[in-house]
Amino acid sequence: MRASVGLMQGNEACARGAIVAGCRFYAGYPITPSSEIAEELARLLPQVGGKFIQMEDEIGAMGACIGASLGGVKSMTATSGPGFSLKQENLGYAIYTEVPCVVVNVMRGGPSTGLPTSPAQSDVMQARWGTHGDHPMIALAPASVREVHDCTIRAFNLAERLRTPVILLYDEVIGHMREKVELTDPSQVAIVERPKPTCPPEVYLPYKAGEDDVPPFVRFGEGYRYHVTGLAHDERGFPTQNPRVVEAHQRRLHRKVERHRDEIAAYETFMLEDAEVAVFAYGITARSARAAVRTARSEGLRAGLLRPISLWPFLDLEVGKLAQQVKAIVVAEMNLGQMIYEVERAAQGRARVAAYQKASGEPIHPEEILAALQEVR
């Protein structure tokens, strides 16, 4: 497990990151292009005393993941589009009952079966809104193999810290490519554990949060007998229809994520200081965007890049500021318009927002983004 410099595949990096983060349970169902995560963990988990199970479907996998997490074990599942759709109901359950876990979606072309072996970025809105009912959401979008590894660890840390599922979204190219990576020694990586109650069982309220809106969590079987339900519930975890209790719970769930926005928010800027036009791009597309910005600069166009690493909650503030600075923002995505809606909203008409979209199953080439930049210059 001692990591250093080497060639590593994106999906492998995800599996290894999970092990470093303390993940000791994986339940999944195979699907291209995410299967290597499962395959790697089927091998690695028992080596560290953890467990891997291939369930009968993605719904069961999500359920088993939540069950294991309630058993006190850091848990993960991974899938791609069709499987991500199937997980939505239980994902909502985990959000509502505040059970930490990490859900990886390696995006492929869609909708439906689509292009199983081609990349896309067309599940980013689904990641935010896929399950029914009101819910907050945290999603990270790494752009390199190294970042897959680190974001997986961050996803676990955030999940445990905030008692909520965290979604890791990256596309087939990132999942399948091998890249030179330099990894920190696992012993140097900061690992977060779920907040534990300090009170005795008799007074423990599983859904009573303190200051930070995160209720302390104790695994099943430790004497803190409590109830977990996907029905609207009170601080004791018992079903309630009391409108005030229901509303308060709903609002706390949102606030929990909202108030930790700064802890969650992550992005990279590239040559943005003096930029007059900017690209907004994430994941694989951001790599092309970086290349395009380099070329644009060499051609005298003051371009820059805002690359969100955390997609949800959305970087409203950062995009708002960007819109004040630049003339135009090119939103480049491998879909027919998803994050651009958020950029438009945050820009509030202060900068022109232009789209570069592609849904052919191929990654966007730097030259395509360069052309888009030149058009809005």
Partner: protein, 254 residues
């Protein structure tokens, strides 16, 4: 004498089940079985789906998990793998466990993981107001079979046995003491135990089909033509134990 109240969450009682509903009788048998086995409440986890029967988990003062419709066995599988030392009891209905959750049922049976599953078969979807279940007898009425049911129904025990279950039993709420024994045996069995409980829904199913008073419905169960008692028992490697073997292998210990 044994006092059920020791096992209750007093805040949640009395329960929400209708007048004369058989679910309370099953709950009693379950609590007696737990008591008989001397299991500690801290060491029991109960996992249920969605339905009237699945509300049971809210009432019992142990580690309880009321999951999504049809999925309790999947949640329980994860929980059991994470904490093999817990006694995990799954509560499900005929809709929850045989309709939407049928696949998890057969796969959990196949894996032979050490869970005890109680399926409350009241022949109907009680919670949602009386729609067809895969156990509703032919020709009976439900809100979604206003002209009488034309679907054959499942023999849950046969299905679970065919899927590989190693302990398969059927009891009824009319024979509550044998039921208690079956539950206790199921919990003690190493591997997947399945106990179908024939129970009654007098409020919704009974009323619509004029099946009589709650007591009459109970008594009718005495005359079921389905076999009761332990129907099948076999031994085979239990899943979490088998997985320990994998860990030993992976760590080079075998």
């Amino acid at each position: 004498m044994f006092d059920y109240h020791e096992y209750f969450r007093s805040e949640m009682m009395p329960h929400m089940w209708c007048k004369g509903c058989g679910n309370g009788i099953v709950l009693k048998a379950l609590l007696r079985a737990i008591h008989r086995l001397g299991l500690s409440k801290d060491r029991i986890a109960m996992v249920s789906g969605i339905g009237c029967s699945s509300r049971l988990t809210g009432y019992v003062d142990c580690n309880t998990l009321h999951t999504t419709h049809g999925r309790p066995l999947a949640f329980a599988t994860g929980l059991k793998l994470a904490r093999p030392e817990l006694t995990v009891i799954v509560i499900t209905g005929d809709g929850d466990g045989l309709a939407i959750g049928g696949n998890h049922l057969i796969h959990t049976a196949r894996r032979n993981i050490d869970l005890t599953c109680l399926l409350f078969n009241n022949q109907i979807y009680g919670m949602t107001g009386g729609q067809l279940a895969p156990t509703t007898p032919e020709a009976l009425f439900s809100t979604t079979t206003p002209y009488g049911n034309i679907e054959p129904n499942f023999d849950a025990c046969r299905l679970v046995q065919a899927a590989g279950g190693t302990f398969v039993a059927r009891g009824t709420v009319y024979r509550a003491i044998p039921l208690e024994k079956l539950i206790a045996e199921g919990i003690q069995h190493k591997g997947f135990s399945f106990i179908e409980v024939l129970t009654t829904c007098p409020e919704i199913h009974g009323r619509r089909n004029k099946l009589g008073t709650p007591a009459e419905m109970l008594q009718a169960l005495a005359k079921t033509t389905l076999p009761t008692g332990v129907i099948h028992q076999a031994s085979g490697p239990e899943y979490t134990e088998a997985y320990d073997g994998i860990i030993a292998k992976a760590q080079g210990r075998t």
